[in-house]
Amino acid sequence: MKPFTTHSGIAAPLLRINIDTDAIIPSREMRRVSKRGLSEGLFAGWRYLYEDDKKLGANPDFILNKPEYAGASILLAGDNFGCGSSREHAVWALAEYGFRAVIAPAFGSIFYNNAVRNGLLPVELSEQSITALAEYSTRAPATNHVNISLENTTVSSNAGDEFHFDIEPLHKEMLLQGLDAIDMTLKHLDEIEEFQNRDKTSRSWAYL
């Protein structure tokens, strides 16, 4: 997994609440048994214009299609981002598109767990702080970059604003070092086996 230490980039505001994973990537855009090739489908329902279910081309009104947000790598979003379906494709699509972080007041819990396992940093900030960052970015998207330091758990603007965010130590470590959770857990195989040996006696009915 690609580690996340610090990042500075263009922040695109998509300040809608309850942006669900169906909106991030609709079912019909998940066409292959693969974690790749999904960025084309990112926000497909909003990003493209349609006629009778057929894509006509880019929707010029959608934020990511505006030239000043080309290359955006931070997404500013509304409350409960990534709610709904557990599809990790939502995270894969965001990461493949080039996003390194999503900043929202709160996240759907499955999305959050998926994000930290793929080097996409979910940052929880207050609605007020996000509004301030969005206003700052909107003034000059290409140059008004948003800066994130995971080590210091801060988000800052070049205008001098700085916001602190909270993140669980296990998620922070995993992201900072690009650790693989499976490798980390396999180090505890002895404890897992010990547990199972005990458990097979006390809850024998649970073992098929």
């Binding site: 300040l15 809608r16 609440i17 309850n18 169906d22 909106a23 609709p26 079912s27 019909r28 998940m30 066409r31 292959r32 048994v33 693969s34 974690k35 329902g45 349609y50 009778d52 279910d53 509304g78 409350d79 409960n80 709610c83 709904g84 379906s85 557990s86 599809r87 990790e88 995270v91 709160a106 759907g108 819990s109 499955i110 999305f111 767990n113 998926n114 396992r117 793929n118 609605e127 669980e168 130590p169 296990l170 470590e173 959770a181 499976i182 857990t185 396999l186 505890h188 195989l189 404890e191 897992i192 547990f195 199972q196 458990d199 809850r203 024998s204 009915w205 649970a206 073992y207 098929l208």
Partner: protein
């Protein structure tokens, strides 16, 4: 110290508290489906990782397969056949039990996980599908995960978790006639918002919960994720044991007795503390329908589309306005006057035998409005057979419904099938998100009874009035 139901199950699965603050929790069962199961297994193969205990892993075909009678591997889903064959091959290589396309046990994952006794009270159960919380209805700790965590669970039989906060939703009193568990969960989400249970393990409890039949409890827990909960759970009782007894993967004989002894202590002790408690008086709930594009856009059947201008929170107000534009509705319209183009009964929320019976009681001897499209997709192949033995299929088809094979179907474009742009659907499913049932399609979530009644009249209809007419 008194403990909650959730804490008892959590503690009995806790292997270790790790240095980084994670709890390493034992996972008893993993359920897969063909959309993400194949990806998880082939990704593990690429990393040269093995499924640690294939005997505790099951896979079904539900997310990609189509639901037309006489189906095979062909599906309209883009690239669909590859998902099906890849899941089939990968499960075979790993030695995992697969409920394949034409297996009599096939069905929607959470429906058959309960029906086959794969899920039992007190087990931890995960599946790369957010509606895994359905199975909390049996007193299991069951939750949805992504593909990476799924690979983790398959490889290690564990997951690393941060202990979620706990919430109790206490249901008081009893439901009025014609009101169902679906109406309760829609009402809850409407009242406290789609993030009202954010990250919490929610125990549905109280007299009103105990009075619900087991299948209705599954509907209730199913949409806990629409309330942004980590999961929903209900203490097992005599009804639960009756439901489980004799299921193919349930324990038997001495093991059954030992299990029952264990299950009897799976309840919240008097004096145990939750982080948060909500109370709902069931008698106040009427049939409930969504009008917008979030499950929190839910109102009683006698209500009107709300006015965004009266909403003080800016984000909520803008979302309401967007939803109204997308849905083609205006504030102040009575919900029970809105005409529909399609009716859908199915999904892990409402496709069990009791749901089909509810709808059939209303449809019996009646015909749907000619201009609408109406589809019923039973939750499992077994439910389909049982319904057919009762003649429920004929009630549906004589009324003008299509009667399909089991699968997730048009809940989300599964099988590559969706509704058309601007088509308005009354649907027994769980999500009314933009584009969920088709690009530009407009979904109204409701109970199977409301869907059936609306299919007959052609507009969103209170099923209780239909019963009176009959």
């Amino acid at each position: 110290m008194p403990k909650t139901l959730f804490e008892k199950i959590w503690n009995d699965h806790l292997i270790a508290e790790l240095d980084d603050g994670a709890c390493l929790l034992h996972v008893d069962r993993v359920f897969l489906h063909e959309r993400t199961g194949g990806i998880a297994l082939s990704s593990m193969e690429a990393e040269q990782r093995q499924v640690r205990n294939p005997g505790h892993v099951f896979c079904t075909m539900d997310h990609i397969i189509d639901t037309f009678p006489g189906r095979g591997d062909a599906t309209m889903a883009p690239g669909g056949r590859q998902f099906i064959t890849s899941a089939r091959q990968a499960t075979r290589r790993a030695g995992i039990t697969l409920f394949d396309v034409n297996d009599p046990r096939q069905g929607i994952s959470h429906v058959i996980s309960a029906e086959l006794g794969v899920t039992l009270p007190g087990l931890t159960v995960v599946c790369p599908d957010s509606h895994t919380c359905t199975l909390g209805a049996l007193g299991a700790l069951a939750w949805g995960i992504g593909s990476s965590e799924c690979e983790h669970a398959l490889t290690t039989e564990t997951l690393r978790l941060v202990k979620p906060k706990q919430m109790a939703v206490r249901l008081q009193g009893g439901l009025a006639a014609g009101v169902t568990a679906k109406d309760v969960i829609l009402h809850l989400t409407g009242k406290y918002s789609a993030s009202g249970g954010s990250g919490c393990a929610i125990e549905f409890c109280g007299e009103g919960t105990r009075r619900l039949p087991v299948e209705a409890r599954m509907t209730l827990c199913n949409m806990a994720v629409e309330f942004s909960a980590f999961t929903g759970i209900i203490a097992p009782d005599d009804e639960t044991l009756k439901y489980i007894s004799g299921r193919p993967y349930a324990p038997e004989g001495g093991e059954w007795d030992k299990a029952v002894e264990y299950w009897r202590r799976l309840h919240t002790d008097a004096g145990a503390k939750y982080d948060k408690e909500l109370h709902l008086d069931l008698a106040e709930i009427e049939p409930t329908v969504t009008w917008g594009t979030s499950p929190q856009h839910a109102i009683g059947i006698s209500g009107m589309i709300p006015d965004p201008d009266k909403e003080s929170n800016k984000g909520t107000r803008q979302a309401m306005q967007r939803a109204m534009d997308y849905m083609g509705l205006t504030a102040g319209t009575a919900i029970n006057t809105i005409p529909i183009d399609a009716a859908f009964i199915g999904s892990c929320t409402n496709s069990r035998l009791s749901d089909l019976r509810d709808a059939a009681r209303i449809l019996k001897g009646n015909k749907i409005t000619r201009r609408i499209k109406a589809i019923c997709v039973p939750g499992s192949s077994r439910i389909k057979r049982e319904a057919e033995q009762e003649g429920i299929d004929r009630i549906f088809t004589e009324a003008g419904f299509e009667w399909r094979e089991s699968g997730c179907s048009m809940c989300f474009y599964a099988g590559g099938e969706g509704f058309a742009e601007r088509e308005r659907i009354i649907s027994s499913t769980n999500r009314n998100f933009e584009g969920r049932q088709g690009q530009g399609a407009r979904s109204h979530l409701a109970s199977p009874a409301t869907v059936a009644a609306s299919a007959l009249t052609g507009f969103i209809t209170d099923a209780r009035n239909m019963a009176i007419q009959q």
